[in-house]
Structure formats: structure tokens, C-alpha cells
Amino acid sequence: MSKETKGTSRRQFLTSAAALGAGAVAATGARAAGPDPLITEVQDWASGFGHGVDEVPYGLPIKFEDDVIRRNVEWLTADTISSINFTPIHALDGTITPQGCAFERHHSGAIELSKPDYRLMINGLVDQPLVFSYDDLERFPREQHVYFCECAANTGMEWAGAQLNGAQFTHGMIHNMEYTGVPLRTLLAEAGLDAAGDFKDKWVYVEGADASSNGRSIPMEKAMDDVLVAFKANGEALRKEHGYPVRLVVPGWEGNMWVKWLRRVEVMDGPVESREETSKYTDTLADGTSRKWTWVMDAKSVVTSPSPQSPIKHGHGPVVITGMAWSGHGKITRVDVSKDGGMTWETARLASEGQDKALTRFYLDTTWEGEEWLLQSRAMDETGYVQPTKAQLRDVRGLNSIYHNNCIQTWHVKANGEAENVEVS
């Protein structure tokens, strides 16, 4: 039963495309060969009952969608405890990422920390070091914001060339959620910042309650700006894998700084230079020197469909090209799409106006007559920054980078509708 309704794997796709043959892929408006029994015959679901309420007290997607899941690339890491998986962006639309399929990145596994056991300490250069319980946090004035969270290593495997064949794997270290929480500055003010003096050379050091602690240093300027201590995402509690009950949200900045299971914020007069901000999350240039403190995620976009895991399965004629764009510097103002590998571009339609440091969905409603495409998208943000090509990035950074690859992605859409991750001249 569920076999016919499965998402199309590459292998399955090849078989079905061959079976259809070129002639059979009729355009819309064609006459049916005969009456459709799904219409002419009474179906079980039109006669009997469906499930009653309470069948599933907390629902999962219907079984036909059970291939829309996070996936891991086993060879990337030594084990799954300190590892990452990928959001199935090829199968999603809109901008909000459901929590259940939003990528996970742990450094020592996703811990189970209850609200009663939760403590948040504010210490260091504050007037009165404080400890908050979870309930305390819910008594401060709250804010809501939608922000993307992108791992700095997203697309990192593509530096050396086209490697992973699917938008999920090349661009899936990202999610976009609506967070509810308390601004970090509110909590810092509660502890009193007279002791910190001039904020200009001050930092906060943030760490989690898990074994990795994943400590990061954040300049006071950012801490006092838009950093959120969040306890809800998309209207419900954070998931365990995203830091339940409380995580830090650092809008526009690399995901590693969004400390999960946040347990401590220390006001300091310098950065700690922790493992995560020295040996990791630094960017080695061609001459061997490395950039540090590369926090902002630059403007980026990707076509999510058609793409290798989401080939064109219908006939010639109308097709919707869609994808997503985001920038750590602010709003997306425009996305262009090229079908010929960057020779000519047309401007796509934004589903809604870009939001600050959040995903924007774009569409290009077009037609396809079986011609080959080298499909690309190119984002622009409100600072006027234009998403670069991989060649432009390599010219500046060389080939040894791991993080911050925001290059233009190319999918080769073939005559049979299949798509492949390629690099172009």
C-alpha cells in the first residue's frame, strides 16, 4: 500500500521515468483514456468511517509523508552523539520549519533536562549574580520573533566541489522557527550592569548544561541587541534535541552560538577563546592564516524544488520553481533565478516581504518543455549584498574553508526531470 505513495528515491524515479516514456508525459488539458475509477467507483473512505478524535493525542504527519524526515550522513562524523543531521528542505514549503524535522546538532547528545531541574545563572561582572528557575523566566516580559538558525558548516562539504546529491544534504543544516522568549538584555539588567562599566570591551560567555557545555563568547553589543533566551518554538515547548527547556537564540549568527540547555551567562572583560571558537568555527584561508569571530551568516539561497530529491515528475508545461533565501544581515529583498547556469537571470516572486534574519520563500512560476536546465538562485539582502558564486568565494578564501559557504548552488535538471548537484564553469 504505502509503496506506491512513497517519496521517489533516485532509483525509483529512474524506473518510473523510463516506463512513462517521452510521449506519455502529457501536458495539462489532455483527454483521459477512460473514466477514472477513483472518481467513478465509491471508495472505502467515501463510505465508511475515518479515525475518531483522540486516536492520536499528539499527531505525526500522515504515513504517506513518512519519508519527509531528518537524515544523517554517516561518514561525516565518528558517531551520532557528536554529530549533525539535515532538515528535509526539499520536501517543505513556506518558511516555518516543523520542529520534528528540524536539523539536530549535538556535541555530546541531546540531554533530557526537566523544567523543575532547570537553572540559569547570570554571573561575572554584574551587580548581583542571580539564579533563575524556569518559572522565573516565564514571569519576564516576552517577545516573539521568527529567526533562521543555520549551522556555520551548512554546505561545508561542497567547498571542494559538488559532493552530496540533495538539497537536504547540501543546505539542510538550517531551520526557521517562531521563538518566544525573554531578551537576554532583560536578564542582564535584572542582575545589574553597573559592574560591567563601559559595554564596549565587554563580552558574555554562554554555556549549556550538557557534557560538552559548548561555551561561546558573544560581544556585549550583540547580547544587548537582539539575543533571546527562548523557551518556545512554533508555539510549543522546544524539543529535547533543540535544547528543551531553554536555548539561546542569536539572530543571524552561526548556529553553534545558539547554546542549547542554556545554563549560564557570564559577563566578562574578554572572550574565553573556548574550543568552539578557536579550534572549530574558524576559517582557514589559502595562506594558512585563519579568520576567527566570523559570526554572521551571509546572504544565501537555494532552489529546493526541483532538486535531486525532488525531481520534476509531471509532464511538460507549467512548473513551479521554489526555494528559500536568508541573510544574517537583515531582510531578503530580492531573489533571482537562472536556468542557464548564471548567464541570464530573472527575478523570482517573494511569497511575502522579507523578514529580519528569517527565511524568505521564493517562487518562479514558469514552464518546462523538457529542456535541460542549470538551475541557480541568487539572494540579495537589504544591505545590497549579492550572494556570490563559489568561484568568487574561492578567490578570496582558497579551498581550505569548512564553514560559511554561502555560494550559489547549481542543479542540473535533465530532459527526464531528474536533477543532479553539479558545479559549473
Binding site: 504505502s2 512513497k6 528515491s9 492520536v56 505525526l60 504515513k63 513518512d66 537524515r71 544523517n72 565518528a78 552523539i81 555530546s108 547528545g109 545563572m121 554571573n123 542571580l130 539564579v131 522565573d136 514571569r139 516580559p141 559532493q163 531578551p183 538584555r185 535584572e190 545589574g192 563601559d198 570591551d201 563580552w203 557534557a211 560538552s212 561555551g215 560581544p219 541587541d225 549560564r264 557570564e266 574578554g270 574565553v272 577563546e273 573556548s274 574550543r275 578557536t278 595562506d287 594558512g288 592564516t289 585563519s290 569571530w293 554572521v296 542557464d340 547556469g341 548567464m343 537571470w345 542549470l374 544591505t383 549584498y385 549579492v386 568568487q392 579551498l399 548537484n421 553539479v422 564553469s425
Partner: protein, 410 residues
């Protein structure tokens, strides 16, 4: 603090420029923190400062909450609105959590160690993943070597070749290592291990005493190898331009590389019938559980098949072991040996796994009793075992684990 100052020159010029549309943020932050924080502007009315007694009530669970709460309340002065929430952190609490160590040595506790002593501790606690010479095992991090490779095509980044600060090594080892057993190293053990890592990178000799005073003076080879984010100058200035729309290339784009040639993409599993199917077909065997765990145990064990609930509990406990051990279909040796059929198996007998000397030379086989002793106290039971795990503290976990392990036959 010159580094911090550099940062601000860099970021204010770069990042700051980008945020200009949002606020004039330099002004806002250099100035005193506004009395009424900006985000509160949207609230109907400023929230009044609660009276001191209210604060006490607000933190009923506080240790000494009343006294500290009151002190905190009295202090609601210049910078920002106070709500009187939370309680004062006690010095013992701060000491327990405030473990970070900075490059100048701030935060280093008194203690000492050297590479000579560190070698055996490293062998016992670290070498399973990082190798006896800190050279790394498999995909686990290499901590030594790679000198002079940073400009190469495939740089080897280790403590010796890449890390800028010795303090970071101490901080990380002390708080997050050994993997799966963090925060169990004593201060002196940490100095020993860090000394051994430095020694393995030819940075200190094996007699050098590493302590809170000498550690910050050990300068790592790549200390000057970092620059603060310069994208504002090297990239943004180039890429904030009107984008080309037509004839943007000299020649039509050609494919130069294909992902399918490499073939490293995980296959999407050809799924078996959905395990989550809420409406299973009438009871038949049509929905086989994927794990052999649920299969009835094979012939010899049939009489004492493990309790399924206990097996399920054991599966959860096994999460602690997964980083190093595999079990089930296709299980392979990883950091630890594969565990299929471990119950009843001869001790130290898996082909291709390099056991510690002790484990390799032990007689007998693993049964419920020997496993229970080992799982509760690995290093106490088998001196010199490579298994870094501290042991299962609860008897119930040990029992569940053995049930789980015994559900996998050879």
C-alpha cells in the same frame, strides 16, 4: 585587551554598518542602559518595581532567598528595569559552574602535572579515541601532528598545529572530556593530560611542570595564526553591487563536476511498511519489527528469554554506550568491540579488536555475574581496560543492560 579593541574596530565597521537600518546601536550601547528598555515600549504601562516582600515571595525556593532577594531589590537603581525575579547565586554555586579558563590563565585552579605522569592517564582515559600518541583513532580527533600543514590542500588541525591558546586545551579537557564521562578528571589529572598533549606536539618536555602559573606562558605555535573576521573589507565591499541579469558570462556555463560521480550521498532507505502506521492490518506477521531485539531468542536461550520491558529499558541505557559500541545487524568494532552475543562469549574474544593487555589475557566468558561487576565498575573490575566509561551507577540499569545485551545473539 588590545584584541577586543581590534574586534570592535573590525565589527563596528563591518557588521555594525549592516545593522544601521535597525538602530543606531553604537549610541544605544555606549550610553547608559536606558531606564525603560526599548522593547518594553510596546507594553501598556511600565511594570512597577515590586516591593521587597513581593520579591521574597517570588522566589520561595531560594536558598536564603529572602535576604539575598532583598539585597537585590534594594539595588534597583540606574541601569534598566528590575523585576525582582530570581535569587542571588551563592558563592558555592558560582564556584561549581564558573569553570571557564581564559588565555591569560584566569580561572585556572591551583594544581600541577607533567607529561611523564600524563602518559599513563592519557593511555587509560583518552587513547581509545585519540590514540596512544594523541595521533587519533579512525574519525576521532587527532590532537598531535600537522605542523606546517595549514596552507596545504588538506590541513591537519591539531592542538600543536592549529589551536591558539593552551588555556583552551585545559578548559576543554577539564569540562568536556573524557567523551561520555565529562567532569570526572581531577585538577591534577587535567594538568597531566594537557602536559602530555603538549609533549606529544613537541611543545614541552616530559619533565616540564605545568601549573596555574606556567600554563599561560606556554605559547602554542599557531598563536599568531588568526585574524579577526575581515569579510567587511575583503568580501562585502566587492559583493554589494547591482547584480548582472543578462550576458553575465563570457561563455555558456559548462558542467565541471557532478555529485553522482563521487557517490557519497546516503541512499534514501527503501522503507519497510511504516512502523508508525496507526491502523495496522488485521493481526498477522506482516509488520516485522526491524530490530532483532524483538525476535524471540534463539533455541538455547528460549527458556530464559529476557523480559521485554527490561530489554526496552536496557535499550535506553545503551545510549550511554553507543558512542563506542555497536550491537545488532551488521554491528562492527568501533572504539569498543561489537557486542552481538556478548552474553556467553569468551572474554576478550572478538576478532580484529585490540583489547587491553588485561582484557586480552583473561580467561572465562561473560555471564550475568561477570558483566554486572564489569558494568558497575569497569576499571575496578578489569584493571587497565581501555573502556573509559565510569560505570553504571544503578543496579536496575545494570540488570536492564544485561537483558538488552542478551537479546542479541551472535
Amino acid at each position: 585587551m588590545s584584541k577586543s579593541l581590534n574586534l570592535y574596530v573590525g565589527t563596528v565597521a563591518g557588521i555594525g554598518l549592516l545593522l544601521v537600518g535597525a538602530y543606531n546601536f553604537a549610541d544605544r550601547n555606549v550610553a547608559d542602559y536606558p531606564e525603560n528598555p526599548q522593547m518594553l515600549g510596546e507594553l501598556p504601562a511600565p511594570i512597577p518595581e515590586p516591593e521587597a516582600p513581593v520579591k521574597t515571595a517570588a522566589a520561595p525556593e531560594a536558598v536564603d532567598g529572602g535576604i539575598i532577594g532583598a539585597a537585590h531589590a534594594d539595588n534597583g537603581d540606574s541601569k534598566g528595569l528590575r523585576f525582582g525575579l530570581g535569587r542571588g547565586a551563592l558563592p558555592e554555586e558560582i564556584a561549581a559552574w564558573n569553570l571557564d579558563v581564559s588565555p591569560d590563565g584566569t580561572g585556572l585552579p591551583a594544581g600541577s602535572g607533567n607529561a611523564y605522569d600524563g602518559e599513563s592517564i592519557f593511555e587509560e582515559k583518552c587513547a581509545v579515541c585519540h590514540g596512544s600518541f594523541a595521533e587519533g583513532v579512525g574519525n576521532w580527533p587527532k590532537l598531535a601532528g600537522g605542523d606546517g600543514t595549514l596552507a596545504d590542500e588538506d590541513p591537519l588541525k591539531t592542538v600543536g598545529s592549529y589551536w591558539p591558546y593552551t588555556s583552551t586545551v585545559w578548559d576543554y579537557v577539564h569540562r568536556s572530556m573524557p567523551f561520555g564521562n565529562a567532569q570526572t578528571l581531577s585538577v591534577d589529572e587535567t594538568y597531566d593530560i594537557v602536559a602530555y598533549i603538549l609533549y606529544s606536539n613537541d611543545i614541552i618536555d616530559d619533565e616540564f611542570e605545568l601549573n596555574q602559573d606556567t600554563l599561560p606562558e606556554v605559547v602554542l605555535p599557531n598563536a599568531d595564526g588568526f585574524i579577526v573576521d575581515d569579510r567587511a573589507e575583503t568580501e562585502y565591499s566587492k559583493w554589494r553591487t547591482e547584480p548582472c541579469m543578462e550576458n553575465c558570462k563570457d561563455a555558456p556555463a559548462q558542467i565541471t563536476m557532478r555529485a553522482t560521480v563521487l557517490d557519497v550521498t546516503p541512499e534514501e532507505a527503501v522503507e519497510e511498511p511504516a512502523a508508525t502506521d496507526p491502523a495496522p492490518e488485521p493481526a498477522t506477521a506482516a509488520d516485522p519489527a526491524p530490530e532483532p531485539a524483538a525476535e524471540p531468542a534463539a533455541e538455547p536461550a528460549a527458556t530464559d528469554a529476557p523480559d521485554p520491558e527490561l530489554v526496552a529499558a536496557g535499550e535506553k541505557v545503551f545510549n550511554k554506550c553507543k558512542a563506542c559500541h555497536q550491537i545488532g545487524d551488521g554491528a562492527k568494532n568501533r572504539v569498543g568491540p561489537q557486542l552481538n552475543g556478548i552474553v556467553g562469549r569468551d572474554i576478550g574474544s572478538v576478532d580484529g579488536f585490540k583489547y587491553s593487555k588485561t582484557m586480552g589475557s583473561m580467561d572465562g566468558s561473560w555471564d550475568a555475574e561477570t558483566l554486572a561487576a564489569f558494568l558497575a565498575n569497569p576499571r575496578g573490575t578489569v584493571k587497565g581496560t581501555k573502556m573509559a566509561f565510569a560505570g553504571l551507577r544503578k543496579d536496575a540499569d545494570v540488570e536492564a543492560m544485561i537483558a538488552y545485551l542478551s537479546s542479541f545473539s551472535q
